[in-house]
């Protein structure tokens, strides 16, 4: 039974990672921009939500505020900074987005203050339901899984079945040709960037009731998100989904069962810290193994 619960935990963590990774992989894969500010969009979303929820009391309003706040901030960042860096080397992009990350952290602490705000679980999502006999699971975490699945389906539809999705794919393959055919590639890039920021903001508002809304919350998860998109293959939404679920599962199951496995052969004093170390390294081991077998990731967008 505990195994199933840990599987659910892995699934939920994976879905959370997917919402962040989907945007990051599109921006990285299509626009070729290494965007360290992505974690900031997540934070901006969470803060906008926290502020709106505390002043209106409505979680739905919080979701809208998070999407608007993160999406708008994404547009501003793209137009003012990123747009100037498409033709530059990755190093310039890393430097600029790293600077933006610090800037955002300080800006948020000036606007909202340094004390982490409170976001309660909305009453509709409070409590647990029994998924299987003897296994109660918090509704808020289940809704995370459902929302992640909806986002996956929605993105699949957007990328594969709509005109804008077609342009996104075309832009990824050969953006000069798309430009030459009369498509405003700049506008397209802005839309992709805003979409990525929007998804990060959505992850932020969903995480707010169960995680601390604090300055720097995005950096904590950004590295793991990069691991996800490297495993999944840069630029592929499908890869992001598979990568996120893999990383979520490996991380959760590793943390859950490594201590017990090691505890069978070693004394608990050694097994505890050692297992914690191994579990936190497990996703990097996973990444290394995937890259040895498939250097471009599981589902590379471009060959």
């Amino acid at each position: 039974m505990i195994f199933f619960e840990q599987l659910l935990n892995g699934l939920q963590f994976g879905m959370m990672l997917f919402m962040l990774a989907a945007g990051l992989t599109l921006i990285f894969g299509i626009m070729g921009v290494v965007n360290l500010t992505h974690g900031s969009f997540y934070m901006v979303g969470a803060y906008c939500a926290a502020y709106t929820i505390s002043s209106t009391g409505s979680f739905l309003a919080g979701i809208v505020a998070a999407l608007l706040g993160a999406g708008l901030y994404g547009v501003v960042v793209e137009v003012l900074v990123i747009r100037r860096l498409y033709k530059r080397d990755h190093l310039y992009q890393v430097l600029a987005t790293l600077g933006l990350l610090f800037f955002t952290n300080e800006a948020v602490s000036i606007i909202f203050g340094r004390r982490p705000p409170l976001v309660n679980i909305p009453s509709a999502l409070e409590g647990s339901i029994t998924v299987m006999p003897g296994l109660p699971y918090p509704i808020i975490r289940l809704s995370f899984i459902v929302l992640g699945a909806l986002v996956a389906v929605g993105l699949w539809y957007l990328v594969n079945r709509t005109r804008i999705g077609m342009l996104i794919r075309a832009g990824a393959d050969d953006h000069e040709m798309v430009d030459a055919l009369g498509v405003d590639i700049r506008k397209l890039y802005t839309i992709v960037f805003a979409l990525g920021a929007l998804l990060a903001g959505l992850a932020g508002v969903m995480a707010a009731p169960i995680l601390a809304v604090e300055i720097g919350m995005g950096e904590r998860i950004l590295i793991t998100t990069f691991v996800v998109i490297v495993i999944g293959g840069v630029g592929s939404v499908k890869g992001a989904l598979v990568g996120a679920l893999l990383v979520g599962m490996v991380d959760s199951l590793g943390r859950a069962f490594l201590p017990q496995l090691l505890g069978m052969v070693l004394s608990p004093v050694i097994a505890g810290p050692l297992a914690a170390g191994l579990a936190s390294a497990s996703i990097y081991v996973l990444m290394a193994v995937v890259l040895i077998v498939k250097p471009g990731g599981l589902y590379p967008a471009r060959s």
């Binding site: 840990q6 602490s109 982490p116 409590g127 604090e214 201590p259």
Partner: protein, 388 residues
């Protein structure tokens, strides 16, 4: 060019020193930026409150407080303290984290200056490496965790699971708890310092079904932990014991109702029935519009301790032996009530058990349950051979 700059710098330095000829300078290096900045804010404000109440003086001596931000980086703090030592500052306090303190203290004491800690009291400086010019007015780091073990005993818990991040302070927390706990530790679960999701640990706790858990997670990780503990429905079935600084008032605001029922340990409670503590709480609230945390309390006590010693030497820090002897006496009215120094310059004080409950106004506050240890002293004093 270089000469010009050097001359300019000298002039600046001399005008600065000229500004307040008779005041004692105190170097106050603390953490004001980063998410932990609220802690430094409370410490600075608590310290300033004491100065303000003395009309800019501590113990009748005018004070000029030099506040610097260390951004939680030991290297920053070390640089700042070196600079202040060179400009003649003889007395330091303010540092908020053990790792930063470890970078600052050796340089300060080696130069012959004094350091009075208002928050961390790491074990390294409490035992063999104790120093005549180093005082800790707050607590030795083990105190809170030892209190956790005593609290678990007194609450009748037999099987307890322990959780802490896998780093020095986390491992100290677990060993500190085990030192005083008499029941069985059924699991030691190590998390990571940057972990935000604890669902795995929650499932494990439910599976283990202990009588209680003891957890130590600082800052944001602590907020995450308590929120998710409640979301997992564990609050009702497995009681939680945690050190006070793992669920301070600011964190409590961010955690909300999820924290209700949690037991916290501490060296002070707002409910302690002594007039100076009551007055401090209401003065602090009036001045800053928020309730003081234990950090503010410690800073206020530190300011008073320093004041009592400055008074004894009439503000003359060159009388080092007299100043040291006066600090050792701890001749001030601590907000904690009983307070005296052990031979290793760490406090001997009482420990308290509190529980997070709603007060009459429906606000969550740590409510004093009882004193769980009287005159607690740390175990390191025995190995400290303090040169007199």
């Amino acid at each position: 060019m270089f000469k010009k700059i050097a001359v300019g710098a000298l002039m600046c330095a001399s005008t600065l020193a000229w500004a307040a000829p008779d005041s004692v300078e105190i170097g106050f290096i603390t953490t004001l930026s980063t998410p932990a900045g609220y802690i430094g804010e409370d410490e600075r404000d608590g310290f300033n409150l004491a100065i303000k109440q003395g009309d800019g003086q501590l113990g009748g001596i005018p004070i000029s407080l030099i506040v610097e931000d260390d951004a939680l980086k030991p290297a920053n703090a070390k640089q700042t303290s070196d600079r202040l030592i060179q400009s003649g500052v003889q007395l330091f306090t303010g540092v908020n984290f053990s790792n930063v303190l470890a970078a600052v203290v050796p340089g300060v004491t080696r130069s012959g200056a004094f350091y009075v800690s208002l928050n961390p009291g790491p074990s390294v400086f409490a035992g063999k490496r104790c120093d005549p010019n180093y005082f800790v007015a707050s607590y030795q780091n083990d105190a809170y965790h030892a209190a956790g073990g005593i609290a678990a005993n007194s609450l009748g818990y037999k099987k307890v699971a322990l959780l802490a991040p896998n780093y020095q302070a986390g491992r100290d927390a677990i060993s500190g708890f085990k030192e005083t706990f008499e029941g069985e530790v059924i699991a030691e679960i190590y998390t990571t310092l940057d972990q935000s999701d604890f669902s795995v640990e929650m499932a494990r706790i439910r599976d283990l079904n202990p009588d209680a858990i003891y957890q130590f997670h600082p800052g944001g990780t602590g907020i995450n932990f308590v929120k998710q503990y409640s979301a997992a429905g564990l609050t009702d079935t497995v009681p939680m014991v945690t050190p006070g600084f793992s669920l301070d008032l600011r964190m409590l605001e961010a955690v909300g109702d999820a924290a209700e029922g949690t037991y916290v340990t501490g060296i002070w409670s707002m409910d302690i029935d002594n007039p100076q503590s009551k007055k401090f709480v209401s003065d602090f609230q009036e001045e800053y519009g928020r309730l003081p945390t234990e950090y503010a309390m410690q800073a206020y006590d530190t300011a008073q301790l320093i004041g009592s010693a400055l008074k004894a030497v009439d503000g003359d820090l060159s009388k080092k032996d007299d100043f040291r002897a006066a600090l050792r006496k701890a001749d001030f009215q601590s907000l904690r009530g009983d307070f005296r120094f052990n031979t290793n310059h760490h406090p001997i004080q009482d420990l308290y058990l509190m529980q997070i409950v709603k007060n009459e106004d429906g606000q969550l506050r740590p409510k004093l349950i009882r004193e769980i240890a009287s005159d607690y002293e740390d175990a390191y004093a025995a190995s400290c051979e303090m040169p007199s």
